[in-house]
Amino acid sequence: MNNALISVQNVVKRFGDVGAAVAGVSFDVPRGAIVALLGPSGCGKTTTLRLIAGLETPNAGVIWLEGRKVAGEGAWVPPEARRVGMVFQDGALFPHLTVAQNIAFPLARRNGRARVEELLDLVGMAGYGERYPHQLSGGQQQRVALARALAPEPAVVLLDEPFSRLDAALRVSLREDVRAIVKRTNATTIFVTHDQEEALSIADIVVVMFDGRVAQIGSPHEIYTRPATRQVATFVGEANLLPGLAEGAVADCVLGRVILATPQRGPVEIMIRPEAFELRAVRSGIARIERIRYFGHDQALHVRLHSGEPLLVRSLPRPDLRVGQEVDLFVRGVVVGYSTNG
């Protein structure tokens, strides 16, 4: 038993006769970290979260919480005894109770009022205690839901796609606030999302999942710049893929010689992020700009190599790059290669 706060070991969960929703997932969560479970719909991330919460029972594997076995190998601790706070996708605020009563719900009778006020302040909802949930906006409801989850000072807070019901602008500001709040309380946090921007910007550790399995665990930087598989690479950001031939620390491709992150040999697929290119406008180069999408703060260029492959390139707005312009491309830094042997 390591000193991680949460330890999920080879957990399997099946529903009915269809394949396993969670097919052997393992990861550890250190105390105080914010972990994102990231993946497309149906990858098993929500089920994994619910297994940690105790709302589902695993078919195999073990789950440890705070040094105590809570599921698997004969052990079972029901959700109400796990000291875990949870924020649901739709808030799940009790409609027949006020905001203050909702937040006080997990608390023992005594120190109610003061703690409720403290929590309302923490989530930026001071003064809303006597309102009812239906009188609040979606963002406000999620704040109250978070306050309620934090009320009993749990060691772990779980969030199940808490921002998916909010509009885009609100999503960005609220997730920053949530990150600040859980850091303030030192709660260990796991949140589930399918939005890779959300995962990369808030989490300390990202667990990428596909089809009930963990594809990669790492910091946002690692996940983005060193994706373990092609699938992770394309899910976490835009990826350009070019065939090449690896010879140890370098590989040859249509762009010339590139440096590999991991030495390998043989045919590979080389993954280059759009912002890793350098473009030079030339008379006659190796590619031509076909389309420019301008975003004000940067631009995305659809470029086609003369050998036929399309590439997506990101650059700052530059007056010398125009549609139809011939360009030369250089790769900055190191690239990731995926073996295509066999």
């Binding site: 919460a53 709302l55 029901p78 959700p79 109400e80 005894a81 875990v84 706070g85 949870m86 649901f88 996708q89 739709d90 799940a92 605020l93 009790f94 409609p95 027949h96 719900f105 997990p106 239906h134 839901a145 309620r148 989850a149 009320a151 009993p152």
Partner: protein, 541 residues
């Protein structure tokens, strides 16, 4: 944001509402026109007794029905009771039984000279009068019997509410540290209470309106007193006075029910549906099955068995009494056809007439449309006996030629059914998105045709469900038929009541069996579309 209503619609809706409210107004007028002596005679004479009797029956029955209804709903929706799907249907079917049919069944069984006593005398050798039999002619008998047929009014909406409670609310409560029982008590129960209370108020209205059951059990309440005043006096104002008092008793229940159904919180969510975790009964499953089975037996099984058995016996081995009573194929069929005819006509008229005020209120909401709708709903406060009374008085006063005609009977039935049509059809019309009609209008279709080709077809399933529900009510209706039927034109409920009044209870079996067979068969297809009937009950049956 209401457009202005087209005049023809406004006219039709207003006419319907004015016709609907006339019986109520007339009864009040007649009551107020009565002389002071009649008022004081009734006030000091009968009223205290009637109030006490009615109040005790009301409280007892509502309490009993609450226990049965909520208990049944919890077992079917939240526990792992075996054969839940079957129980779900069986527990709702007593809706098809009128109270007086249950009363007849138990009188046949338990009165002196009834089936149980005869069995003990013939087969076990007791002497007459030696066996202790339960006495049904009191408040306990009435409470039990009415409770047995009215608990579905509570069971159905409570079960629907339990089904639709957002599962994440209960999970959130568990994550907050509460165990199963605490979650139920603090979260689930408060959320389904409005549904249960709404059903309880409906049971209350049923108790106040009931005539057949209390008449058979010889339990004095306002309805039987009104009937006695009516058939006894030359001047019917005594009946009118008692009617007004009864209406005043019913009004708080009516308003309460409306308030509760408006207060229904939005409990459904559109997150991913997950199968609900059920409470494991374990060893308690056997007592639970026993109780549920017993309830079904008492409320549904015994009436069908006893009445069916007696009908078979009467058919296969007819006695002289049977022939006199017309208990042969021809006789029963004739009364059955009478019932079907009146019910079909009244249900169709009520369903059609209700569309006017409803469409006005749904598409062109305004102060006027609300008034029109409320007036159209007013007969709901009138128990059947009062509607019958009001129509008799009206007809005698203003249209004596119409007395004793089928036309009068159907007319009275239609307005008896109108409030129920309004309630059950409202959700059907609301389900038609205005954008459908607007799209048709932009394609050049004139408004009346839009209603016929777009609104009605889309709302048709709900309207059909509503028709079936009011049809069933019409089939079961007793007091209005007693007061207004043409001579010789008996409906099935009237035959049942007549046989019971003459104490030849077994002769009531064939018409009773035919009646409940018809209504049960009609109710079954509605049970398949559970959502439809739940909402219909919730929108007050």
């Amino acid at each position: 944001m209401a457009r202005k209503a087209p005049f023809p619609l406004l006219l039709i809706a207003s006419v319907v509402s004015l016709l609907a409210v006339t019986p109520l107004i007339y009864i009040v007028v007649r009551a107020l026109a009565a002389d002071a002596a009649t008022w004081s005679r009734l006030w000091y004479g009968q009223m205290p007794v009637l109030l006490w009797q009615t109040a005790t029956l009301l409280v007892g029955t509502v309490g009993f029905a609450l226990v049965l209804g909520i208990g049944a709903a919890w077992l079917v929706e939240r526990s792992d009771l075996p054969s839940r799907g079957l129980w779900r249907v069986l527990l709702a079917l007593p809706l098809a039984l009128p109270g007086y049919v249950a009363a007849i069944t138990y009188l046949i069984l338990f009165r002196r000279g009834g089936v149980v006593e005869r069995f003990f005398i013939d087969f076990v050798g007791f002497a007459r009068g030696e066996i202790p039999l339960p006495n049904l002619y009191n408040v306990w008998g009435a409470t039990l019997i009415i409770g047995l047929v009215t608990y579905p009014y509570i069971y159905l909406p409570t079960a629907a509410a339990l089904r639709s409670v957002d599962r994440s609310l209960e999970e959130a409560a568990r994550m907050a540290g509460r165990n199963g029982w605490s979650v139920f008590r603090h979260i689930t129960l408060p959320l389904v209470m409005p549904a249960a209370v709404g059903g309880a108020l409906l049971v209350g209205l049923y108790v106040l309106s009931d005539f057949g059951t209390v008449a058979m059990l010889r339990y004095r309440t306002f309805t039987t007193a009104i009937y006695n005043q009516f058939t006894g006096q030359i001047d019917r104002s005594g009946a009118a006075i008692l009617s007004v008092v009864l209406i005043l008793l019913a009004l708080p229940l009516l308003f309460g029910e409306g308030w509760f159904s408006r207060r229904q919180r939005r409990l459904t969510s559109d997150t991913v549906w997950r199968p609900r975790q059920l409470v494991r009964l374990g060893g308690w499953r056997w007592p639970a099955l026993f109780l549920v089975g017993l309830l079904t037996l008492l409320s549904l099984g015994l009436p069908l068995l006893v009445l069916g058995g007696l009908s078979m016996q009467g058919w296969l081995f007819p006695t002289e009494a049977d022939r006199i009573w017309g208990i042969n194929n021809e006789g029963i069929l004739r009364f059955g056809v009478n019932s079907l005819l009146v019910a079909t006509l009244a249900a169709t008229f009520a369903t059609a007439l209700a569309l006017g005020p409803l469409y006005l209120a749904v598409r062109f909401p305004s102060r006027i449309s609300r008034i029109v709708l409320t007036l159209s709903r007013s007969p709901f406060a009138l128990p059947g006996i009062i509607i019958g009374l009001a129509f008799v008085l009206l007809i005698n006063r203003w249209a004596p030629f119409a007395y004793g005609t089928i036309f009068a009977l159907v007319f009275a039935f239609t307005f008896r059914l109108l409030p129920q049509s309004l309630s059950t059809e409202e959700s059907a019309l609301r389900a038609v998105a205005p954008s459908l009609e607007e799209a048709a209008r932009t394609m050049g279709v004139p408004p009346v045709r839009v209603f016929w080709r777009v609104t009605l077809p889309v709302a048709a399933p709900g309207i059909l469900a509503s028709w079936i529900l009011v049809f069933i009510t019409a089939m079961k209706e007793l007091p209005t038929a007693i007061l207004l039927r043409p001579p010789g034109f008996d409906t099935l409920p009237v035959r049942i009541w007549a046989a019971a009044s003459e104490s030849v209870h077994t002769q009531a079996a064939p018409p009773a069996f035919l009646l409940i067979t018809l209504t049960t068969l009609l109710l079954l297809p509605l049970m398949q579309n559970r959502l439809g009937i739940d909402r219909a009950i919730q929108d007050n049956l």
